[in-house]
């Protein structure tokens, strides 16, 4: 790991000021992706701005028909939150399946979203549940947030504060894990929300995406059979040592069917 300067601001305003100073500063949340990348020298920030000292970034609040989760809330906290378990069990189950238990004790919602790893789980929750990403500057709809591989709509000096998840009528997330890394080879969030049916796929392409054809079929009839015959073209899907594009295309249909079946 290359050397870097470190600071731990006490407020969001101080963090934003530090981030806008230029250089190649990066925010440190749980560090479960960033520190690993820095150790491999794939990432070499000039400064790390540790968000661990800003208490307003953590916590889970039920606000009417949605649950707002602070950006620094750990995966393990989301997985065992009574509110999340009661209102959006699909989200609790997704959070409880990220990485392993030790990673879940450090990793954060905001960190995962800002990183936007193509095989991460949380992007499927945010896009599939139609959540809103709240930053220190604005509110970003899930459909506008994910821009591509490791790319988001976040500006250079923008910080995720929290994410608001509308409570769906029913939803489930099912993933086919890489047996070694536990990353999603394909993960599908299927949800019937107040604003329509949403199906989001992670792990399969350069970034999380929705499957309009499945959404339409499920809107007409919410049943596993409705998606069983729908497949996503393999053309734009990832192909690697773990799975070919054709296999991923096949898995999307299977995971979608299982997600619809499991939805509650």
């Amino acid at each position: 790991m290359y050397a870097f300067d470190y600071q731990k601001p006490k407020s969001l305003a101080d963090a934003a000021a530090a981030l806008s100073k230029g250089g190649d500063a990066k925010l440190l949340a749980g560090g479960q992706s960033l520190i690993a990348a820095m150790k491999l020298r794939l990432s070499a920030p000039s400064d790390l701005i540790d968000l661990g000292g800003i208490s307003e970034l953590s916590g889970i609040k039920v606000e009417g028909a949605s649950i707002t989760i602070g950006a620094m809330t750990r995966h393990a906290e989301v997985a065992r939150s009574k509110d999340v378990l009661a209102k959006i069990p699909a989200l609790a189950s997704l959070a409880g399946g990220i990485g392993d238990r030790m990673v879940r004790n450090m990793g954060t919602l905001g960190g995962s979203l800002a990183h936007n790893d193509p095989v991460a789980d949380y992007p499927a929750a945010v896009l599939g549940l139609g959540a809103t990403v709240n930053t220190n500057k604005r509110k970003i709809a899930a459909d506008d947030f994910f821009k591509g591989m490791f790319e988001t709509a976040l500006q250079a000096d923008e910080i995720i504060v929290s994410v608001s998840f509308p409570v769906p009528k029913r939803a489930a997330y099912i993933k086919f894990k890489n047996p070694a890394s536990r990353y999603a080879i394909v993960g599908v969030m299927a949800a019937e929300t107040g604003s329509g049916v949403r199906v989001a796929v992670t792990g399969a392409a350069s970034s999380v995406f929705r499957v309009a054809e499945m959404e339409k079929a499920l809107a007409a009839k919410w049943s596993p059979d409705a998606v069983a015959g729908i497949s996503v073209p393999a053309g734009k899907l990832n192909s690697d040592m773990h799975a070919s594009a054709e296999y991923r295309a096949h898995l999307i249909t299977v995971m979608a069917r299982r997600a619809v079946e499991a939805a509650k």
């Binding site: 790991m1 290359y2 050397a3 870097f4 300067d5 470190y6 731990k8 440190l28 560090g31 479960q32 520190i35 690993a36 820095m38 150790k39 790390l48 540790d50 661990g52 393990a76 065992r80 990485g99 392993d100 238990r101 030790m102 990673v103 004790n105 450090m106 070694a180 890394s181 536990r182």
Partner: protein, 153 residues
Amino acid sequence: MKISMNVNGKPVSAEVETRTLLVTFIREHLRLTGTHVGCDTSQCGACTIHMNGHAVKSCNVLAIQAEGADILTIEGLAKADGTLHPMQEAFREHHGLQCGFCTPGMVMSAVDLVKNHPNPSEETIRAELDGNLCRCTGYHNIVKAVKAAAANM
């Protein structure tokens, strides 16, 4: 940069580089070498310690992130008089180790597991230990040990 924390109940402080990993601080500065470095890529779990009561992989945490934290390593698990923690005793009793390299991480992880799942089924134990790898593949006895320890914790 100066950091201070409590390790196994004792206050410690030291001057470290910002890039110092928590596991490096524990092993090389504090000379507590019971915490192992296996893969160094946050996969094997040999470096598992408790930070503020939660199991974390100390090879994937910066020492400065643990500023002010309560850290528990394998050295701090037994009582001062040498009486083993029920988890350590169960690993001994059920032969939950072969070469022993993964054992400190397995034990620290298993203590955290039982804290969160007081009466775990075999299935739960296997699923929740998926962040700890045993290269001897001695999982059967590890699972037995965790189940037995859970009854005594």
